[in-house]
């Protein structure tokens, strides 16, 4: 398949000798305008790849922080067409930063798979992560998405053993997302030494970049993970920072965008410190 913004970004960072910072925020959280302002500010703050959550009422693999973000977004009127519109608006000012949509299958299925793929591609989406579509269900969305020129990024977990790993990596593109804990998002901190071994194991099976996430909250953790992985994913910590910036009615405050971008800048410094240490 053709090169996507994801492939280009990882190739460029490899040349620079550093890992990528992948940020996750929920589309439409706490409202459309603030969410778009955050997305637009992310690259300058240090995000190399942007993951945008597609809100869903029943996020079975997510912890309390991301559940709350999705419900805030839905309450403020989020829906799939608006998520795609947000990407479209982002793209008018940035044609280089990769955007990955992440979420659950039902809202895509109800939007209509074919229509979704056409509209997502046209809006400027580069990849998809759909939590409840394992390789066993590849015909649903993964194969049509690859055909449409989108990356389909799969999660590998501590329960994905060597026997199963090839099945998980088959049809995966863009990068592999290693879930560093057996658990829901944002509930436990990863153990950097175990993560290193897991990344090495995955790299024996693939040439794709390996991103590591679930539970990374601080610049120091980001630095440690960036030593051994090609990318560090941070989600719950950003969503929490956003949540804390809201007023008592759950509305965006004057510091909402900055609360997210400040933390992104800290995490980016952590990620960028890693390879300098490694290189010297």
């Amino acid at each position: 398949m053709s090169t996507t913004r994801i492939d280009a970004r990882f190739a460029a960072l490899k040349q620079q000798g550093r890992a990528a910072l992948v940020t996750f925020t929920m589309a439409g959280d706490p409202d459309y305008a603030s969410s778009l302002a955050i997305a637009k500010a992310l690259p300058k703050a240090g995000a190399d790849v942007i993951e945008l959550g597609m809100p869903f009422t029943d996020p079975m693999a997510d912890g309390p922080a991301i559940q709350a973000a999705g419900l805030r977004a839905l309450k403020a009127g989020a829906r799939m067409s608006k998520t795609l519109n947000l990407v479209r608006e982002f793209r008018t000012g940035d044609d280089a930063t990769p955007i990955v949509l992440m979420g659950y299958y039902n809202p895509i299925y109800i939007y209509g798979v074919d229509k979704f793929l056409i509209d997502a591609k046209a809006a400027g989406v580069d990849g998809l992560i759909v939590v409840d579509l394992p390789p066993e269900e590849d015909e649903e969305l993964c194969l049509p998405a690859l055909k449409a020129g989108l990356n389909f990024i799969r999660l590998a977990t501590p329960t994905t053993d060597d026997k199963r790993l090839p099945a998980v990596l088959n049809n995966t593109s863009g990068f592999v997302y290693y879930v560093s804990i057996a658990g829901v998002t944002g509930t436990a901190a990863p153990d950097a030494s175990k993560v290193g071994a897991a990344v090495t194991r995955i790299k024996r099976h693939t040439d794709l970049p390996v991103a590591v996430g679930f539970g990374v909250r601080t610049a120091e953790q980001a630095r440690a993970i960036a030593q051994c992985a090609d990318a560090v994913v941070v989600g719950s910590a950003l969503v929490d920072a956003l949540g804390k910036s809201l007023d008592s009615g759950g509305k965006a405050g004057p510091g909402t965008v900055k609360a997210v971008t400040d933390l992104v800048a800290e995490l980016a410094a952590g990620v960028r410190a890693a390879r300098r240490v490694a290189a010297s």
Binding site: F56, D58, M60, A61, Q67, V168
Partner: protein, 415 residues
């Protein structure tokens, strides 16, 4: 029905867990290896005569099976009187007495099978979700019997409206965790149980209470519940020398119904009715009837009919019966609906409570609110059938747990 008919309705699911377009395995990667392990372990247990014999022993001596097939004579006579102008009319009504099982409902049939499987797999910790609390009570009961720790997730709303069952679970040594996320009912309890499972993959067995969830659960739970239909077939043969003419059962997820229906699916002479909860009425939008008011979508590991908005967001179900208060239905029911093999009806809160009262007074059996929904449709179906029509209602649970809810409902109607 225009849909092409299969040679048999009893051969599903396929090896990937599909009933037509329904079913499947829509779960996070973390759970996928566990589900494959479960599928293999269940296939081995199913083929193991020793496992089956041990289960039969517990079903007889612990659960109290077989449950009787009871001729509901006064209800039959009552409905024959109301069939005015049709003197020959009025079906002969039987109850399959699942409410007489240990723990007071059909749920125990499935839980026994799953807990025995968990032991066989060496699992050390059991989790379950519950709505009305009957599945939670059955799981707590068997965990007590087999000495396993048990954690039951229950929506905070249900903890409130099904207090007696919460007390029972705690008395049995289970930990009941009230779920305050989302709509605080059964679907949220299921989300929370799945989150627990994702975080405790090494030692935990998830005991699902209905014929839903990722493959192999819908088929496995159906198999464990099919003893209801197998016994009914034998008992009816003994009582009347033939097959019944119709079967009727309430449907939330649909395990009691599937248990009764499955052994009869290929008997084309047998009419089969499932009754969903219509809550305040289908037109009100406040109901739990996934087939009547929903459409196919993907939730909790399977594709099936779901209540949702036009953006694919899951909507809250509404029913006086906590056991039917779920925005989905088992995938095999979805498939049988599309093929026209099972006819889906619904009953409102009002109709269910009226049937609850009538059955209590006419038969001396206080039904659970769940089968009271099916009973409500018996009240208008039976008078349309001839006198020699044999109709079987699955009396899937007893109503002790519902007395507070019904009293409060009747009180609110007075105002």
């Amino acid at each position: 029905m225009s849909a092409p008919q299969p040679n048999s309705f009893r051969t599903g699911p396929d090896e990937r867990g599909h009933f037509g377009i329904y079913g499947g395995r829509f779960v996070a990667e973390t759970l996928m290896p566990l589900i494959l392990e479960l599928e293999q372990a269940y296939a081995a247990a199913k083929a193991d005569a020793k496992f089956q014999a041990e289960m039969d022993g517990h079903l007889a001596n612990y659960v109290g099976r077989p449950s009787p097939l009871y001729f509901a004579e006064r209800l039959t006579e009552h409905l024959r009187k109301t069939a005015s102008g049709l003197s020959a009319a009025g079906a002969k009504i039987y109850f399959k007495r699942e409410e007489l099982n240990h723990t007071g409902a059909h749920k125990v049939n499935n839980v026994l099978g799953q807990i025995m499987l968990a032991l066989r797999m060496g699992k050390k910790r059991i989790i379950a979700e519950t709505g009305a609390g009957m599945h939670g009570v059955a799981t707590a009961t068997l965990c007590a019997k087999f000495g396993l720790p048990c954690i039951v997730y229950m929506g905070a709303v249900d903890v409130e409206r099904q207090k007696p069952n919460v007390l029972r679970m705690r008395m049995l040594g289970a930990e009941v965790r009230g779920v305050t996320s989302g709509s605080k009912t059964l679907k949220d309890a299921m989300n929370e149980a799945l989150r627990d499972w994702v975080g405790n993959v090494a030692d935990t067995f998830y005991c699902i209470g209905t014929v839903a969830g990722p493959h192999p659960y819908p088929a496995m739970v159906r198999d464990f519940q099919s003893i209801i239909g197998r016994e009914t077939r034998e008992q009816m043969q003994k009582a009347e020398g033939r097959l019944p003419d119709s079967l009727i059962a309430c449907i939330g997820g649909g395990s009691n119904a599937m248990g009764l229906f499955h052994p009869f699916l290929d008997e084309r002479s047998v009419e089969i009715y499932g009754v969903e909860a219509a809550g305040h009425g289908l037109a009100s939008g406040k109901h739990a009837a996934s087939i009547a008011g929903g459409r196919p979508g993907v939730l909790h590991g399977n594709r099936t009919y779901l209540l949702m908005d036009d953006d694919g967001q899951i909507e809250e179900a509404h029913s006086i019966s906590a056991g039917l208060d779920y925005p989905g239905i088992g995938p095999e029911h979805a498939w049988l609906n599309d093929l026209g093999r099972v006819k889906f009806l619904s009953a409102t809160d009002d109709e269910a409570v009226a049937a609850f009262q009538l059955c209590s007074k006419l038969e001396g059996i206080i039904p659970a609110l769940e089968p009271a929904h099916a009973l409500a449709r018996v009240l208008d179906l039976a008078p349309t059938k001839p006198k020699d029509h044999l109709m079987v209602l699955n009396m899937s649970g007893r109503g002790d747990k519902d007395l507070d809810s019904v009293a409060a409902f009747l009180e609110s109607k007075k105002k």
